[in-house]
């Protein structure tokens, strides 16, 4: 008994130290068989003898922002590609979401390899102001005399020609008034907003309440949808908000999907759902107008069903962080799912950017129609 | 053995303290919490919804409880935006003046029978008749100078605030 305790203490202490080292090691992700985690043990070598090692080194340089070293380890396919455009591709520009993001870790997996070329799939884990974002990219590698190199073929975005774009869409300003507190004299009603549909479903993560809301008023509204789950006795199980899964600023007659998530709650416990939509007056602008082009349901490289499309900025103002929210309908017009995703690159005036939002595999077959709206955040307006 | 006896004694003492505390709490709570009922059968032109009835009951009860504490302690910290407009102004002035004169008032054993007599078409104003019964005492320098069991009729106007119904007007009348 007297000897056991010190031994146990030593074992526990060693385990804690190892765990600490593991958690703090840069670039390391949870191990999965067949997938290399982005390891960052101090003193790593610049070995490029295999595609995995070469790609690992390349991504570590990206993570540490060693741009010169990273760029030097690539093979460019075009003279138009220079270090500046290479850096911009990784760090973003024009206040896009990538500009505020950091590469936290990455997982690589070989797709196929020969003696002279290889294809690797990388899952990049970004830390962003809107939460963790995952990006999957395929890298082609080629073997040269001095080792394997990453083929870099990302051509820079074409420059938008200088031009004058008139901005004459309507703006709304909010004037609070400076009169006294005379009861009834400051009567400006909150915007009239109505929930037009609601659907409650069970998902792998919990209960999801979704639907659509419309601004029936003639002024813009800042909208939030709340849902309260009630049990058979009328007691409250949980109370959640739509957070960013809604187009918060609704212009007159604009329709937005909404989604309220209740993690770890089963629908079988829910007897009733009470919905509440809060709308307040807010200054707003009709500009920018963003078109959503070439929307198509596809399967991505990983076999997941996605809605893919392009955002087109029809105005003269840069949209720094576009946020896509898509509602999916079945053949009876019922909303069966709402997905959202942030576009990492800024949407420049008169330009396009691609987007993709995932649909759960179980629902993909039911989707007959969809509607996409675009939330947008512009630094100039903050 | 000694340890065993000490533990039993300690547990018994804690249990007795808890029971005593619960009794005190229930007595105190019963004394300070007004009893409020609401009849909406005469409300017009709009019917008072069930959720609104519950909210008005809850908030009116809370308002009177807070007002009682405010006038007893001569502090407005308990009031928390429950009184606005003329009702709010009167309460603030009364607390301030009482404080200056070392006077306080107590409202005990409150019972309020509310009757809704008007509910606006948009649901933003409700007028109530309150037949209030309470033990009212005025103290000057902690000495009782007036004590009565009062039945008072109030005309009450309540309006919805950000997250509760608030008392906008509270006017005592000789009769309805």
């Amino acid at each position: 008994m007297k000897r056991t305790l010190p031994i146990v203490v030593v074992i526990v202490a060693v385990t804690v130290v190892l765990m600490f080292l593991g958690l703090t090691s840069v670039g390391r992700s949870g191990g999965t068989v067949g997938i290399n985690s982005g390891g960052a043990l101090p003193g790593f070598s610049s070995d490029t003898s295999t595609p995995e090692k070469a790609l690992n080194n390349f991504l570590l340089d990206i993570q540490k922002r060693n741009w010169g070293q990273a760029f030097a380890s690539t093979e460019r396919t075009s003279d138009a590609i220079n270090e500046q455009s290479f850096i911009q591709d990784w760090v973003g520009s024009s206040g896009g979401l990538r500009s505020f993001s950091a590469l936290e870790r990455f997982d690589t997996r070989p797709l196929h390899a020969t003696d002279s070329e290889a294809q690797m799939r990388v899952r990049l884990h970004w830390t962003t102001p809107v939460g963790p974002v995952e990006d999957v990219r395929d890298f082609r590698m080629t073997h040269r005399n001095d080792g394997w190199k990453v083929i870099w073929n990302e051509t820079p975005r074409p420059n938008v020609p200088a031009q004058i774009v008139p901005v004459n869409y309507l703006r709304w300003d909010l004037v609070t008034g400076n009169g006294g507190d005379e009861w009834g004299s400051h009567n400006v009603d909150a915007p009239h907003v109505r929930i037009v549909s609601m659907n409650a479903v069970d998902s792998a993560e919990g209960v999801v309440i979704m639907g659509e809301v419309v601004n029936e008023d003639t002024v813009p509204a800042f909208v939030n949808v709340n849902a309260i789950l009630l049990d058979a006795n009328g007691g409250t199980i949980d109370d959640e908000s739509s957070f960013d899964k809604i187009l918060h600023v609704l212009l007159p007659k604009q329709v937005s999907p909404y989604r309220v998530d209740f993690p770890h709650i089963g629908l079988n416990k829910v007897k009733n759902v009470r919905m509440d939509v809060k709308a307040t007056l807010v200054p707003a602008s009709s500009d920018p107008v963003i078109g959503v082009m070439n929307q198509k349901l596809e399967t991505d490289a990983q076999g997941h069903p996605v809605l893919h499309g392009e955002l087109m900025n029809e105005s003269g103002e840069t949209v720094n962080i576009p946020h896509v929210i898509a509602s999916f309908y079945d053949n009876s017009g019922k909303v069966v799912w709402v997905s959202d995703g942030y576009v990492e690159k800024a949407l420049l005036p008169q330009s396009t950017e691609t987007f993709a939002v995932e649909i759960p595999q179980s629902l993909a077959g039911k989707v007959q129609n969809f509607h996409v709206v675009v939330n947008q955040y512009s630094l100039e307006k903050s | 053995m000694r340890t065993h006896i000490h533990i039993r004694t300690g547990c018994t003492a804690v249990l007795l303290a808890l029971i005593f505390g619960a009794l005190c709490f229930s007595v105190f709570a019963a004394d300070s919490s007004p009893h409020v009922t609401l009849n909406v059968s005469k409300a017009s032109p709009r019917q008072v919804e069930a959720l609104t009835q519950n909210a008005i009951l809850r908030d009116y009860k809370f308002a009177w409880a807070s007002m009682g504490v405010a006038l007893q302690t001569n502090s407005l910290s308990s009031v928390n935006g429950l009184f606005v407009g003329e009702a709010g102004a009167h309460l603030s002035a009364e607390v301030k003046n009482q404080q200056q004169n070392d006077v306080s008032s107590r409202y005990r054993n409150q019972s309020h029978k509310l009757e809704a007599v008007f509910y606006s078409p948009e649901g933003d104003i409700v007028e109530l008749h309150d037949t209030a019964e309470y033990d009212f005492e005025i103290l000057a320098s902690s000495k009782s100078i007036h004590s009565e069991h009062a039945v008072v009729h109030y005309i009450v106007l309540m309006t919805p605030g950000a997250d509760r119904w608030v008392v906008r007007h509270l006017q005592a009348v000789p009769q309805f």
């Binding site: 869409y169 009834g184 007159p252 198509k296 | -």
Partner: protein, 279 residues
């Protein structure tokens, strides 16, 4: 003017003589019995007074201390304390609180606009004596309408339909000729009616626009109203949420091949437009 009811004596020997018919905002003189000095207290709505007085003389209570209508307790302490309860009544109605809803009303809707008026005296006491209120409302280009209503418990209300023409509706509530309060309700276009679109292919894409959008009463919908254009062709869909500018909404849609274009604004749907593919 409301006549005050009698006061209630709380002690066997009533040492205070409260005058009857007290009205808010008027000074009062309270009589006392006996002799010597005493302390006078007055507690009421918004009021707490403490003063040294001489028994046998009248106690003057200033008008500002009796501004609030309601229940007061007057206490006189000289050794023992005796008290009297009395009421102060509201004055004449000289002020109105007028609450009108909504601030923006769609045109041509039944019972869309309502208003509630409350009568107060000079010191914001609710006047409970019935008064006759005149509600009047008028829009530009139409003759004014009015309705008379008697207050009950200090409140009068009205409800009316919204007009057919968009624009400001002036509403007033008045007691006699001296007391009037005004409010404005914006009558706005209702949901779009007969939403029609036209379009053509251009070098930049498909330019689609609506005809001037009006509601069913002929009022143009306000600028900024969003129209959603959707183009479906093959397995692709494109959409744009475009705001109305000077009665018309326009958008450019990128789509090759034959497409069917539709438009919607809120819950109102428009016609469909079919365009062939690019040559």
């Amino acid at each position: 003017m409301l006549i005050l009811l009698g006061s209630i004596a709380m002690a066997q020997d009533a040492a205070l003589h409260i005058p009857s018919g007290l009205v808010a905002g008027n000074a009062a003189r309270i009589g006392t019995n006996g002799g010597g000095s005493a302390t006078f207290y007055l507690v009421g709505p918004g009021v707490s007074i403490k003063r040294d007085v001489e028994l046998g003389k009248e106690i003057s209570v200033a008008a500002k201390d009796l501004q609030a209508a309601g229940r007061y307790v007057a206490v006189i302490c000289s050794g023992n304390c005796t008290s009297q309860v009395f009421f102060v009544a509201p004055g004449k109605p000289v002020d109105l609180s007028f609450i009108v809803h909504p601030s923006r009303a769609p045109v041509a809707e039944n019972d869309a606009i309502s208003g509630v008026a409350l009568t107060f005296d000079e010191f914001r006491n609710l006047v409970l004596v019935p008064s006759t209120l005149q509600f009047q409302w008028s829009a530009k280009g139409s003759s004014p309408m009015s309705r008379s209503s008697q207050t009950r418990e200090g409140i009068a209300w009205f409800r009316t339909n919204s007009g057919k023409t968009a624009g400001p509706l002036q509403i007033s509530a008045a007691i006699g000729n001296d007391v009037t309060t005004r409010r404005v309700v914006q009558q706005v276009a209702s949901i779009p009616c007969n939403l029609r679109i036209k379009g053509q292919r251009t070098a930049k894409g498909i330019l689609v626009e609506t005809e001037p959008i009006r509601d069913c009463s002929g009022n143009p919908v306000p600028d900024g109203t969003v129209v959603t254009f959707t183009a479906r062709g093959g397995d692709h869909t494109s959409s744009v949420d475009a705001p109305v500018k000077q009665d018309i909404a326009r958008a450019t849609i990128l789509a090759s091949g034959p497409v069917t274009i539709s438009a919607a604004s809120g819950v109102a749907m428009g016609n469909e437009l079919r365009l062939g593919g690019m040559e």
